[in-house]
Amino acid sequence: MVALTIDGREIQAEEGKTILEVAGENNIYIPALCSHEAVTPYGACRLCLVEITRGKKKRLVASCLYTVEDGLIVKTDSERVTNVRRMVVEFLLARCPDLEVLQKLAAELGVDKVRFKLEEDNHKCILCALCTRACEEVVEASAISLVNRGVDRQMATPFYALSEACIACGSCAYICPTKAISIEDIGDTRIITMPHNTMEFKLKKCQNCGRYWAPQKQLDFIIKKADLPADAFDLCPDCRD
């Protein structure tokens, strides 16, 4: 265990945990957009920045990445921190003006107008990379990635085409904090709408009740991975037992 101070409160924390985790456990709020317990921390949105003091030195660090240390003094809302957060939200709102999550954050931080040119292409994607990390680390399909460098960066499938590797599981849509990815099942087809492309997948029909119940590719993926018999998913879960 280590002892640290967050916003004046003395806290005992488990070694190896990040400041963001420890703050959360102690009901201290730190905004964060690119962090999720299911995937490795990334440090890209910069909303979770906090000011730490070690000895005489003060600096800003991403709390989703920085692990707690004995004697660490953390301020989650110093002026420096707030200035960066406000600017980050303003930048993101210029990118995606309609996003509710951002509008809520703006209200919290007192950002009442956006002084920058607003982007017109409403793709809702803030490039937090939660989807790509989930796809790579949790699903282990690596079907989507961030393509292009710098301001041209986009979340996409290779060549913006139907991804061979995608199993249509929908984890990306589930983890996305801005609902930039959506899933819709119509008849025998699952349609996944990404910020910059759309993909369609066949759903599997239950041999008993005739319901289309899961993407064929996802079931094939599980059969292969878990070494199950080829007919393992011929029936839907309801008809199975």
């Binding site: 990334y42 440090g43 890209a44 949105c45 910069r46 920045l49 800003l60 660090v61 991403a62 990445l65 920085y66 692990t67 420096r80 200035n83 960066v84 406000r86 600017m87 980050v88 930048f91 993101l92 210029a94 990118r95 002084r115 920058f116 040119k117 803030i126 490039l127 990379a129 961030l146 292009n148 460098r149 710098g150 301001v151 041209d152 960066r153």
Partner: protein
């Protein structure tokens, strides 16, 4: 051209090395030589055909075995290229053309007589200058690193040996302890030449002390600063000095594997480094049991993908591992967990090149050169509106005025000096009032610029400072990896605002907004690219605010660059 014998067996002991060195020196001593610069500046001016012409002439005039032809790395005076140096007389010919080769061989090399037309004309004294060191461009320089470029063929390890090369390695391996070497580097005051100015000895010490079975040393030759050519010229012109530094460093740190990360746009640097590594292996300076000392070390070359951000330490290591070259937070330092999560010591090319000098001459000697907090020399790539563009190596403490006026010969075409941009794309612009600023890591940072890796661009009255800031922000915007919000979105918006200002759509409050954004981008970005990127904007606002105001309020570009309205 005299062909030199290759060492048939590896040098296995100090005695063997000294015998080899003696024979090399005896063989080449006083043999006439013609050195033609094969650096990018001279090549662009036609050095390639000059080299071909010399090869032909030497053969035609029957001098194959009596004259050495060397293709050397850039010695610095690019403005006068193509450069040709004749030894032993130390005659410098400049602006040489292929058709001059015949006369140079028949008159200067064979008979020792000078060709007046090819000598440098001193602009002040109106005299011809014969020797390299006497031209004003080199006079105020102290070329501890670059001087050897004129004297050796980078593809011939024996040239390096003849200049006492690898003697620092001998000293390090046989009469110093690893801790002693680290101590020496610490005491020398050497700081990282990539621009950060991190104390090299302290970095080595941390890496030496870090826990890990395998440790790596890396040489950063990514040199992303467009237009700069300090690291490239060292790697092309004197690769063995860098290898020697790396071997000493590896021994001090306890590493057996090194990498040289070279940007792909430097094919000659890649080639020369590869030849140098091969030769060093053949001769026994690399590989197993180096010089019989028991120490093993190998070096491999990796070619960088070309992105500016790949020069950043964590991105470089990711790229070396075959991953996307994207930075990550460095809360755990790379000296603890770097390449493949092992302790890794990364230094810049020029930093490594300083190491043999320090080991050979001692920390006391080295720390006498320079200022209180910045020791040794620094190479700058002096370009822009300056008479003598080229590579300049000066002791720390030299003022900007001395570099631009005494060495650079002042602003070209008699124009008025307006600013000097230092520190690469994310550096800053310094005004005339700061011309007496000494070259020093901390002094540069204090005034809102940076030493950077040594880019130095002279700007005159015809440059618009807002336009310059826009130019650098656009470069950085296109080079941002796009991972974190402040850098990716912030630079995009900065670029938009600067474009608006230069096109007459600037509004009241834009300057203050840029300042506010700059502070947040610096404070909030993930890696060094973002944390320095606002510098060109912030420094031009700091020193040339009136130019911004003229664009915004009066809708005028004082320099007449921006077409407003």
């Amino acid at each position: 051209m005299a062909k030199k014998g290759k060492a048939l067996t590896r040098v296995g002991s100090l005695d063997e090395l000294e015998r080899l060195r003696e024979s090399v020196v005896k063989r080449d001593h006083n043999k006439p030589s013609i050195a033609v610069c094969g650096g990018p500046g001279c090549l662009a001016l036609g050095a390639g055909s000059v080299i071909t012409a010399f090869k032909k002439e030497i053969e035609k005039q029957g001098l194959d075995t009596n004259v050495v032809l060397r293709i050397i790395g850039c010695p610095g005076f690019c403005e006068g290229g193509p450069l040709v140096l004749i030894e032993p007389q130390n005659i410098l010919y400049h602006r040489v053309k292929a058709e001059d080769a015949a006369r140079i061989v028949s008159q200067t090399v064979k008979q020792g007589s000078l060709i007046d037309r090819l000598l440098y004309h001193h602009p002040k004294t109106d005299r011809k200058v014969i020797h390299e060191g006497d031209i004003p461009f080199y006079k105020k320089q102290r070329r501890l690193l670059l001087a050897s470029n004129s004297r050796l063929d980078p593809n011939d390890i024996e040239d390096y040996l003849a200049l006492d090369g690898y003697s620092a390695l001998v000293k390090a391996l046989f009469s110093m302890s690893p801790e002693g070497i680290v101590e020496e580097i610490k005491r020398s005051g050497l700081r990282g030449r990539s621009g950060g100015g991190f104390p090299t000895g302290i970095k080595w010490q941390s890496c030496r002390r870090a826990h890990g079975d395998t440790k790596y040393v890396i040489c950063n030759c990514d040199e992303g600063d467009p237009g700069a050519f300090m690291d490239g010229s060292l790697m092309e012109g004197n690769p063995h000095s860098i290898l020697e530094g790396m071997i000493i460093g590896a021994y001090a740190i306890g590493s057996h594997q090194g990498y040289i990360y070279i940007r792909n746009e430097y094919p000659l640097a890649v080639k020369n480094a590869a030849i140098a590594i091969k030769q060093a292996e053949d001769y026994g300076f690399l590989g197993k049991n180096i010089l019989g000392s028991g120490f093993d070390f190998t070096v491999s070359i990796n070619r960088g993908g070309g992105a500016f951000v790949c020069g950043e330490s964590t991105a470089l290591m990711a790229s070396l591992e075959g991953k996307v070259g994207e930075p990550r937070a460095k809360y755990v330092h790379t000296v603890e967990k770097g390449l493949w999560n092992q302790p890794t010591n990364l230094n810049n090319v020029e930093t490594w090149a300083n190491v043999p000098l320090i080991v050979n001459n001692g920390a006391d000697w080295y720390s006498k050169i320079g200022t209180e907090s910045s020791k040794g020399t620094k190479i700058f790539s002096l370009v822009g509106k300056v008479v003598n563009a080229g590579l300049v190596e000066v002791p720390m403490g030299t003022t900007l005025r001395e570099i631009i006026y005494d060495i650079g010969g002042g602003v070209s075409d008699g124009k008025k000096f307006k600013a000097v941009h230092t520190g690469g794309p994310a550096g800053g612009c310094l005004p005339p009032s700061l011309l007496d600023l000494p070259v020093d890591f901390d002094e540069f940072t204090k005034v809102g610029s940076a030493m950077g890796s040594g880019g130095m661009i002279v700007l005159d009255e015809e440059n618009c400072m807002v336009d310059i800031a826009k130019h650098f922000i656009n470069f950085l915007k296109s080079e941002s990896c796009g991972k974190c919000v402040p850098c990716r979105e912030g630079l995009k918006q900065m670029s938009q605002i600067l474009t608006d200002i230069t096109e007459g759509r600037g509004e009241d409050g834009d300057i203050e907004l840029l300042e506010e954004m700059g502070a947040a981008i610096k404070d909030g970005s993930l890696c060094g690219l973002g944390t320095t990127a606002p510098n060109p904007v912030l420094s031009t606002i700091r020193y040339f605010r009136d130019e911004y105001q003229a664009h915004i309020k009066d809708k005028k570009c004082p320099a007449g660059v921006c077409r407003i309205g």
